[in-house]
């Protein structure tokens, strides 16, 4: 157990150190956090869309659930402190509490959405998750306690990029260990041939639902993290466009490859950000050109999906993983 948790503990230490070193550099912190949140979203979505071969296109909905749950909790406890601890530590503990709560509520939503739709064929999930995203948006917009269409502001900005990247590490570790566990093997089997998996004693529905719950949990955490470093949380951040962005990431990276999801998430987050600043500079500080570029992004995503499917459906990495390559290379080196 201790040995099993060792990588996570090491990662926590590393993240704290990095945060202490680079914490003052605001632009870097913001960008790194943004990238981190997208990586968490992509890697977690890959569990259900890639490893299990189902297709959810409402990940942003779960992100929203996490963001609002975490945000509301932190707003309510903004003034509270655990007396004996230094303020930073106490704040971070409250933050972790909010993150876990956000993840848990999102996971429950995942259960509610997954149970009816995952008993059916994969494409039903696509519709139901899309619908779920819409329902969440409508509910948030109609609930004054959540800030309605204006959004939630004043959530304490407690999440540094160190915290975000600690969760990035956790989600990657989770994905890797899942893939190599009996649970993960069953998911691969479902992806390959659902009828055969069922005939071999795999309770396909239960496995799919649990994979979906896990995926939703991390989406919720990503949302809660997001709520703690952006100034305003509003429904506009969790639209269908956001869900599609994540889908494009994992499809481009290669459905089923955590490495692919990670790489594509980093690249596809930095690229538009880079373009935006580039075009703002080109336009002499006028943001309208950058906005134009931003608009073009979405149709390009759509075309990109079609082109990838027509030419290279396995994406960049297929189902290969960086750590497998490393293991093979080390084996070769030893021989």
């Amino acid at each position: 157990m201790i040995r099993g948790a060792a990588p996570a503990i090491l990662a926590a230490v590393g993240c704290i150190a990095l945060q202490a070193l680079l914490g003052e550099w605001a632009f870097f912190g913001y960008l790194a956090s943004l990238v981190g949140v997208n990586v968490i979203l992509a890697v977690s979505l890959n569990v259900i869309n890639g490893m299990t071969g189902q297709f959810s296109i409402g990940h942003a909905g779960f992100m929203a659930v996490g963001a609002y749950t975490g945000g509301i909790l932190s707003l309510a406890t903004a003034q509270d402190r655990i007396g004996v601890l230094p303020e930073v530590v106490s704040d971070q503990l409250f933050l972790v509490g909010s993150l876990c709560a956000g993840g848990t509520v999102a996971a429950l939503c995942g259960l509610i959405v997954g149970l009816p739709s995952l008993r059916l064929r994969g494409d039903y999930l696509a519709i139901v998750t899309l619908g779920f995203g819409e329902i969440i948006r409508v509910i948030v917009q109609n609930t004054q306690a959540l800030g309605g269409a204006l959004g939630l502001s004043g959530v304490p900005q407690r999440a540094g990029f160190g915290m975000v990247w600690f969760w990035v590490f956790l989600v990657v570790l989770m994905a890797r260990r899942l893939a190599a566990s009996p649970h993960g093997r069953s998911l691969w089997a479902i992806r390959e041939d659902e009828v055969a998996a069922e005939a071999m004693g795999v309770d396909t529905t239960s496995y799919k639902v649990r994979a979906f719950v896990l995926s939703s949990f991390f989406a919720g955490v990503a949302g809660a993290l997001f709520a703690h470093f952006v100034p305003i949380v509003n429904p506009g951040s969790f639209t269908f466009v956001k869900s599609m962005e994540i889908v494009v990431m994992i499809v481009a990276g290669g459905l089923g490859s955590t490495t692919g999801a990670f790489t594509a998430a980093v690249f596809l987050t930095l690229l538009p950000e880079g373009m935006r600043s580039l075009f703002t500079t080109l336009g002499g500080g006028d943001p309208s050109l950058a906005q134009k570029v931003d608009q073009v992004r979405m149709p390009i995503y759509g075309v990109l999906l079609v082109l990838i499917m027509l030419t290279r459906p396995q994406g960049i990495f297929g189902t290969h993983e960086a750590w497998d390559a490393v293991a093979r290379w080390r084996k070769k080196a030893r021989a």
């Binding site: 071969g53 297709f55 296109i57 959405v113 149970l115 009816p116 739709s117 008993r119 059916l120 994969g122 494409d123 039903y124 696509a126 519709i127 139901v128 899309l130 619908g131 779920f132 819409e134 329902i135 948006r137 409508v138 509910i139 917009q141 109609n142 659902e194 009828v195 269908f240 466009v241 599609m244 889908v247 499809v251 459905l255 608009q295 073009v296 979405m298 149709p299 995503y301 759509g302 075309v303 990109l304 999906l305 079609v306 499917m309 027509l310 459906p313």
Partner: protein, 317 residues
């Protein structure tokens, strides 16, 4: 009482429009087992074509039978061609690949269309500016059927109104649905469609031109969608790029509720959804409209996942 009747009428009118779109989903699902995500967006393209035709035709032809027919026919033909193109270049190459690839492609096309149409793109040729892409703003749809109260019942503050466009769309939709039912069950093409839907490999072995049947199904579905889209635009008096996605999703929900792949089921599901939406909105608030369909869907999937009229289909082993 009057309120109830009014909601009933509005709900039925909305339901018939959903039904036309739902038929497209159900037919394509029947032959290809593919949820054609882009169906709603094809519809949206059709509405913009109709908008352009009406605009070019000029105001003086609005409300005339010939004018309305022209708008509908051109838009339906354009959509049929567009559906054919999508099938030929995006779906056909993937037909033997895993089902997920076509699903992702369909999502991609849908996304490209609905957000592509939100761009502002115009070219300047010889001093005139031609709009290529309409932009995100919602535009007023020309009143090609001049709205007029066909029937009014009751006193001023409590009355039931039936609009002429409600009657017209109901009639058009009903005629198309009856026609479709005849086509599927009484013609050679319909028989081929049913054979392909049963098993397209076996159908091919029996000499049925599978490619042509599938292409035909797409054209038919797209044309129906264009018609539905125009009716919707007339009802809403507006057109915007995201309308396809929303109406398409609701129509899909309707098809699932009725039992996907089942033609009468899609119609019943669509009417049920139209009524349900109208009553919820009528008695609560219009901001909940978009949530109704999906709530309904989740309930149906929980209680009867194969839909009201569908049968559980075991995969062939």
């Amino acid at each position: 009482m009057y309120g109830f009747l009014q909601h009933l009428i509005n709900g039925l009118a909305a339901g018939t429009i959903y039904a036309l779109v739902a038929l497209g989903y159900t037919m394509v699902y029947g032959v290809l087992k593919l949820i054609n995500f882009a169906h709603g967006d094809v519809m949206m393209v059709g509405v913009y074509v109709g908008y352009a035709v009406a605009f070019l035709m000029g105001r003086e032809h609005f409300g005339t039978f010939a004018g309305v027919m022209l708008v509908f026919l051109v838009s339906m033909l354009a959509c049929a061609a567009f559906g054919l193109l999508i099938e030929r270049f995006a779906y056909r190459p993937l037909r033997e690949k895993p089902r997920l690839t076509s699903l992702i492609t369909a999502i991609g096309i849908s996304f490209a269309l609905s957000y592509g149409f939100q761009l502002d793109l115009a070219v300047n040729l010889g001093g005139t500016s031609y709009t290529l892409l309409p932009g995100a703003a919602s535009r007023a749809f020309p009143e090609i059927i001049v709205p007029n109260q066909w029937f009014e019942f009751g006193s001023d503050d409590q009355s039931v109104i039936i609009w002429n466009w409600q009657v017209i769309s109901f009639l058009i939709a009903a005629a198309l649905m009856v026609g479709l039912q005849l086509l599927v069950f009484k013609t050679r093409f319909g028989r081929a469609m049913r054979a392909v839907s049963f098993d397209h490999r076996v159908a091919a072995l029996l000499g049925i031109p599978v490619d042509r049947v599938i292409a035909g199904t797409f054209m038919l579905g797209s044309a129906l969608a264009a018609c539905a889209g125009l009716l919707y635009a007339i009802k809403d008096t507006s057109v915007q790029p995201l309308m396809g996605m929303y109406i398409g999703l609701k129509a899909f929900v309707a098809a699932v509720i009725g039992g996907i792949g089942n033609v009468p089921g899609a119609v019943v599901g669509a009417l049920a959804l139209g009524l349900c939406e109208e009553f919820v909105v009528g008695y609560t608030s219009s901001s909940w409209r978009d949530a109704v369909a999906f709530g309904f869907l989740i309930l149906v999937l929980l209680a009867k996942p194969e839909g009201l009229f569908g049968r559980v289909q075991a995969e062939k082993v």
